[in-house]
């Protein structure tokens, strides 16, 4: 059985599960069947896709189904790019299924989640498998709607209905942009197969327009600034394992769409397209992580951090575009490998972190960090897994986030060889912004872990929390192990990505498998190398040595006592640093300008018994300056047009007559 047919069969199983869940969603234990199926099927998908990626040597596998438009049917194809993203989707789906086995039993309205979960998974798989524009768009829209239904699962909770509405509007806008992009790609002839699009000759303005439309369409789904506004609303609104899928996996499907069209279908890009993507990516990365730093809702913080990571991926894609346009194949392969590696990494640690946030939510009932704290004592295993996720996403060695970030820096260091001046000046600035985003991410996740899991509990719920069930823990620990493995054995991942870059760019990074000590060398050993395995071994060995020496030669004695705190009497957990106060120094540095953050302290006069007050005011300028004017403009136009609803029959008839005459005139005058 060819790979494509097998994968389609897997998706058929998922869709059948969705249908069955509609009927039996309320039955006791239905969640076990649904999530168990999702786990098994997604694992199979990931395994088959990985097997294809490693063994097929880039030969595509096709399947045609007589669905959709009768004269067209539906084309599906697995090639290296699709296979890589299927691995990401499959692994994410399997982890979410495993987590759901335990987490799903807390669900208050299972019939609102269970049918859509496998449907959402199937939708994401099918987008990646689709090999003609019609099927692609249909599956894309199916994926959007299934995830929308999941966002609306708890529609009575405050804010969720608005989140769903904003998501629906933005998803519709994105699909419209994609529709136009594919329309332009297919041209007047209208052959929607990807093969025909790839071979077609196009006028010069088309690639430009298609790139812009793809940035709007795929970018809005991935969360590029300024199209990101729906993401921090919608991702946290869904149940946590779905949030993990939306943030960790669906944004990757959007990136897949961008890569498929821009790198595969469009042909060699113009050199300036790299600049556009680079700048958008850098702005997205920095703004996303700054928003995350200011956020006190744990799940929204994670959603904003997703925006940052999408920015990082787009920085790498922009570099790849720029190098490709200048004919620097090896550098382009390096940048594209960095982008895809980061896609894999982000899907691992973001799913892990959302699972952790879901565990905290189910254990305490709170997402607001100001009500959490001290959970490391109550939820030891969750806290270890969450800590691994935090270190990994903060791009610190020896975990996986650092490897892709390191590859990105190595790609940036290739840029002085590009011939265009504009690029040469932009790239170091982008490199600085990438480093800034990484450093801010470290700050952000010190804060996220420190406020949530460390310190003393800030509410009764946090003080009495319990560790979550074994399924959820298994999912989190499996992802944590994945983060470590991808971090210390990156050579294997880089080699697995070689067929993808070969298929898209005709180049690949040097093979890493045969290098001594499993080191990674992006270009040449004299230029740069990094050996995370040895670094990891060194750290573990020196830490063990330090422990041994300190305990053997020094003292083993340990005494518990009250906290010292410079001798001040302990005023209780309220006096701890909170999420807001932790972010205050960085808010003063960056927020005054970017968020118009204003702090106001009202101190009553001495002797007065009135309470002192501290108020903080922040604005999302993208929302205020871009979306509110558009929304009020649409509202204004709608108000004006509303009058058309209340006309007399006479006026309606004259309106019909006038428009008829106008249309006829147009027809008559048309050349």
């Amino acid at each position: 059985m060819p790979a494509a047919s097998f994968l389609l069969a897997c998706d058929a199983v998922l869709l059948a599960t969705a249908m069955a869940a509609i009927a039996f969603g309320r039955v006791e234990g239905a969640h076990r069947a649904v999530y168990g199926t999702a786990l098994v099927v997604s694992t199979a998908i990931a395994a088959v896709a990985l097997g294809y990626l490693l063994t097929a040597g880039g030969v595509p596998s096709d399947t045609w189904l007589p669905l959709g438009l009768p004269w067209l049917g539906a084309d599906f194809r697995v090639d290296p790019l699709a296979a890589f993203f299927l691995v990401v989707v499959g692994a994410g789906g399997a982890a979410a299924g495993l987590y759901g086995l335990g987490y799903g039993s807390h669900e208050s309205a299972p019939h609102r989640v269970l049918p859509f979960f496998p449907a959402f998974l199937a939708g994401m798989n099918l987008v990646v498998l689709a090999a003609d524009a019609f099927t692609f768009l249909l599956c894309w829209e199916f994926m959007s709607l299934a995830s929308w239904a999941l966002v609306m699962a708890h529609h009575r909770e405050e804010g969720n209905a608005r989140a769903g509405y904003v998501y629906l509007v933005m998803a519709g806008f994105g699909t419209m942009a994609l529709l136009l992009a594919f329309g332009l790609l297919a041209g007047a002839g209208g052959d929607y197969g990807f093969d025909a699009i790839r071979a077609a000759q196009r006028p010069a303005f088309v690639p430009t327009l298609v790139l812009v439309l793809m940035l709007l369409g795929a970018g809005s789904k991935a969360g590029l600034v300024p199209l990101h506004v729906w993401l921090p609303l919608a991702h946290p609104a869904a149940p946590s394992h779905v949030s993990a899928l939306m943030s960790g996996v669906m944004t990757k499907v959007a990136i897949y769409g961008f890569v498929r069209v821009v790198f595969d279908l469009l042909g060699t890009p113009a050199w300036w397209s790299g600049i556009v993507v680079l700048v958008l990516g850098a702005v997205t990365a920095v703004l996303g992580i700054l928003h995350a730093l200011m956020e006190r809702d744990l799940k929204r913080l994670l959603a904003y951090s997703t925006i940052e990571n999408v920015g990082v991926v787009f920085i790498c894609l922009g570099l790849a575009l720029a190098f490709q346009a200048s004919g620097m194949g090896a550098a382009a392969a390096l940048a594209l490998t960095a982008a895809l590696f980061h896609v894999l990494n982000h899907s691992l640690f973001k799913s892990l972190l959302f699972f952790g946030a879901g565990a905290v939510l189910s254990a305490t009932g709170h997402r607001d960090m100001e009500r959490l704290g001290g959970l490391i004592h109550r939820m030891p295993q969750t806290s270890v897994a969450f800590l691994v996720g935090c270190v990994a996403i903060a791009a610190l060695p020896p975990f996986n986030g650092f490897v892709s970030e390191w590859l990105a820096f190595q790609a940036i260091l290739q840029s002085p060889q590009v011939p265009q001046w504009g690029l040469r000046i932009i790239v170091p600035a982008v490199g600085g912004l990438l480093a800034l985003a990484a450093a801010l991410a470290a700050a952000c996740f010190v804060r996220a872990f420190g406020i949530t899991f460390l310190g003393r509990p800030r509410s009764d719920a946090a003080a009495t929390a319990h560790e979550v069930d074994r399924w959820s823990l298994a999912a989190m620990l499996a992802l944590a192990v994945g983060c470590l493995l991808a971090g210390i054995l990156p050579g294997l991942v880089i080699d697995a990505l070689a067929p993808v870059t070969l298929a898209l760019l005709g180049e690949r990074m040097p093979a890493q498998a045969g290098l001594d000590w499993l080191s990674i060398v992006p270009i040449a050993a004299g230029r740069s190398s990094y050996n995370p395995l040895l670094v990891f071994v060194f750290i573990v060995a020196s830490a063990a040595l330090a422990v041994a020496v300190a305990h053997r030669l020094g003292s083993r004695a340990l005494r518990r006592g009250p906290a010292w705190g410079c001798g001040f009497p302990d005023p209780g957990p309220v006096a701890q640093y909170s999420a807001g106060s932790f972010a205050q120094p960085l808010r003063r540095v960056f927020g005054t300008l970017l968020f118009r953050a204003r702090e106001r302290v009202e101190m009553p006069a001495p002797g007065s018994v009135a309470p002192a007050r501290f108020t903080l005011e922040m604005h999302d300028l993208v929302w205020d300056r871009l979306y509110m004017p558009i929304a009020s403009g649409i509202g204004f136009a709608a108000d004006r047009l509303n009058r058309l609803q209340f006309l007399t029959i006479r006026r309606y008839l004259s309106l019909v007559f006038v428009s008829l005459v106008a249309l006829l005139l147009v027809l008559a005058l048309w050349p």
């Binding site: 040469r424 000046i425 170091p428 705190g565 640093y577």
Partner: protein
């Protein structure tokens, strides 16, 4: 192979043994400049031994992370410090991590330290951690831009290669290198918590950063953290030394005879850096915390300018 391993081992032990000495030396010179007699140069060793022998007092609410963090911080800093060339470049494991990875290893240590500061749940720990991450968020981009400058010139991010290139005659005087040097020194001062950014000698003051994070530590845990801080200072000096004063490094393949000379010159470099640091610290006042972004912003701009100059013209 065995000889290489031995030299690598000597390097690891050397940085570990010299780190407290450098800290003690700087303290001594500072005290002499202030017309105090000051503690003996060997005092940091005695402090460390004393701390190791004492029992550790751990706050009631502290978790396992509080007890594990000091060892991890020490290990990451030690590995990073041992990977920077001190007396000879091109050692057995010097290709394990390039400059970017060394910077990131220090980042890992800082991540754990900031978390450890928040673990007990006192306001002092929080204030230290929140300021530390603010300083790091500004210092790290500057540091990476400096790395860019060096890597663009030397064509490598490998410190041994960079050191070899900087010692070669083709470098000459360059504007961008001057900017990178100034920026690197500024960043190193901030990263090590020295005056004017932070005061390593202060306690019981709201202005402290590093000391506030480690306020709850005692005994062997504090010894690990103090040793890590000393190692980090040594690393910064070695980094500036091997990149900007690369002369006297034993050339790879020069044989064992070159090593004593390399070590002697390394000690001289450390002494010179220690005197300069002490002079600078006594001559300048500590700045307010919210002036630190200006200080580091200047470093960032200098580093960016240096890199841009190189992107524009390879000869500047």
């Amino acid at each position: 192979m065995i000889a290489d391993l031995l030299v690598q081992g000597i390097q690891m032990l050397l940085v570990l043994l010299l780190a407290p000495l450098l800290t003690g030396f700087v303290r001594k010179v500072k005290a002499r400049l202030l017309r105090r007699r000051g503690p003996p140069v060997l005092q940091p060793y005695r402090d460390l031994l004393r701390l190791l022998r004492k029992e550790a007092v751990v706050a009631d609410g502290a978790s396992w992370l509080f007890r594990v963090a000091p060892y991890l911080i020490f290990a990451a800093t030690w590995v990073a410090a041992a990977l920077v060339p001190t007396f000879a470049p091109g050692l057995l494991f010097s290709w394990t991590a390039d400059l970017i990875a060394i910077v990131a290893l220090l980042g890992s240590a800082r991540f754990m330290l900031a978390l450890a500061g928040m673990d007990v749940g006192t306001s002092f720990g929080g204030i230290g951690s929140s300021r530390e991450v603010m300083i790091a968020a500004l210092a790290e981009p500057a540091l990476l831009l400096i790395v860019f400058t060096l890597a663009l010139l030397a064509g490598s991010t490998q410190l041994s290669t960079v050191a070899g290139f900087m010692a070669s005659p083709e470098v000459g005087l360059r504007v961008s290198l001057g900017m990178a040097l100034i920026a690197l020194v500024m960043v190193a001062i901030a990263e090590n918590g020295r005056v004017p950014v932070d005061n390593p000698a202060t306690h019981l003051e709201l202005t402290m950063v590093h000391e506030a994070m480690v306020l709850e530590y005692s005994g062997r845990h504090l010894a690990m953290i103090e040793l890590a801080a000393a190692l980090k200072l040594l690393l910064s000096v070695s980094l500036v030394g091997c990149v900007f004063v690369p002369w006297g490094l034993a050339a790879p393949g020069a044989g064992a005879a070159a090593y004593p000379q390399g070590i002697a010159l390394y000690l001289a470099k450390l002494a010179a850096a220690g005197v300069l640091l002490a002079l600078f610290e006594t001559a300048i006042a500590k700045m307010r915390v919210f002036r630190v972004p200006d200080f580091l912003g200047a470093a960032l701009m200098l580093a960016l300018l240096g890199t841009l100059l190189l992107f524009v013209s390879r000869s500047l």
